[in-house]
């Protein structure tokens, strides 16, 4: 057991829908509706900022496929895709995850917000502030190619454990 409930769930593979080297997808243990799926990086990361870009890309790819599966197998009329990034955004667990939530007409889920018109000057000042920080947006962290193993592991010749093993038969 680790200190992270969701790392443990990845280990247990309970209700697993998909997994590969980097990603694990399962039915949410705290669903909003039946079929609510969560997609997580296997490598522990408390917030999405700590997840490498290429893994975030994979999270979305997997979310999209599971979203299609939700439409086709559960007869959903919609899906919500959601990342709660930080406590103020409602993040409840110390492991970054992406939610895909099946939606139906009259499902009584309250997901949304009341839009408020913004004044032109406010938008202009926000635009400038945000643009100051977007210089590196679009430069992605790529997955490093795995080192090719050229060297064979060194042979151990005179280890007492080997002597012991050789004696066994």
């Amino acid at each position: 057991m680790s200190e992270c409930t969701f790392c443990d769930l990845v280990q247990k593979k309970a209700n697993a829908l998909f997994e590969d080297e980097k990603i694990f997808a399962m039915l949410s243990p705290e669903p909003a509706v039946p079929g609510h799926a969560i997609i997580m990086p296997k490598q522990h990361a408390p917030i999405i900022e700590a997840v490498p870009d290429f893994v975030v890309g994979d999270l979305f790819k997997v979310a999209n496929k599971i979203g299609v599966a939700i439409f086709e197998s559960l007869g959903a009329q919609g899906t919500n895709v959601l990342i709660q990034n930080g406590q103020s955004a409602g993040q409840r667990h110390n492991h970054a995850m992406l939610h895909v939530i099946p939606r139906f007409e009259n499902d009584n889920l309250q997901i949304g917000w009341a839009p408020k018109p913004a004044a032109e000057e406010e938008l202009a000042s926000l635009e400038n502030k945000i643009k100051d920080e977007t210089g590196s947006v679009g430069m992605f962290e790529r997955e490093k190619p795995k080192p090719i193993e050229t060297q064979k592991p060194q042979e151990v010749k005179d280890d007492y454990r080997l002597h012991a093993l050789r004696r066994i038969p």
Binding site: K13, A14, N15, A16, F18, L27, E30, P31, A32, P34, G35, I48, E49, D53, V56, G57, D58, K61, A63, N64, K65, I66, V68, A69, I70, E72, S73, L74, G75, A76, Q77, G78, T79, N80, V81, L82, Q84, N85, G86, Q87, S88, A89, G90, L109, Q110, I111, G112, W113, P115, A118, L126, E127, K129, I130, K131, D132, E133, T134, V137, G138
Partner: protein, 192 residues
């Protein structure tokens, strides 16, 4: 295509309709929402028209997700906030209002009144198992892999219900093949 000519967000993405663009590349434009949930609310608009996420190529889906992550970080630095919501609605039932797929990046603060906290329900074992079986098979199909059904929690107890499960499936398969995606899309496009 006609629908794209009429799509406001296609025009915003291409620049025909002016907007406060905070980022742009060959696949996506990021603009400030003029009716934001909170100040600094960004809309990520794919340049290639798509009504919902499943219509987008894998490459664009991954790209837009990575850009959302980076813009979220830019918002946190620029606005000195401590959280963001990255959100998309596919379909009117999910709260989608525009006929063009949008990924929202919304600056968050405590008690800001934005309702992006789904409620939780407790599911009984049978519902959980049924939904798992259906979704697991459909997910495997999407990935082109063999489904590996995993019993939810207590594998030992399930000998009796196990027999039922395939039966139910057989009953339901006939109604399932028709994809609802086209219907959902056409509703979005034709709506208003």
């Amino acid at each position: 295509m006609a629908e794209e000519e009429q799509c406001v967000f296609c025009h915003i993405a291409s620049g025909k309709i002016p907007a406060k663009k905070v980022y742009e590349d060959d696949k996506v434009a990021a603009v400030l929402d003029i009716n934001p949930a909170t100040p600094g609310h960004i809309l990520l608009v794919p340049k290639q028209h798509a009504s919902i996420m499943p219509q987008m190529s894998e490459e664009v889906v991954a790209h837009i997700g990575m850009i959302a992550k980076q813009l979220s970080h830019a918002l946190i630095r620029a606005l000195k906030i401590d959280g963001t919501s990255i959100f998309a609605a596919n379909g009117v039932a999910a709260g989608q209002r525009a006929p063009h797929f949008l990924l929202h990046v919304i600056p968050r603060s405590q008690n800001d009144g934005v309702g992006l906290q789904p409620s939780q329900i407790k599911l009984d074992e049978k519902t959980m198992r049924d939904v798992f079986n259906k979704l697991n098979a459909a997910t495997a199909k999407q990935f082109g892999i063999e489904p590996k059904p995993r019993p939810p929690e207590k594998p030992a107890e399930k000998k009796a219900p196990e027999q039922k499960a395939p039966e139910e499936k057989a009953e339901q398969t006939p109604e399932e093949p028709a994809s609802k995606l086209d219907e959902i899309t056409s509703f979005l496009m034709g709506g208003k």
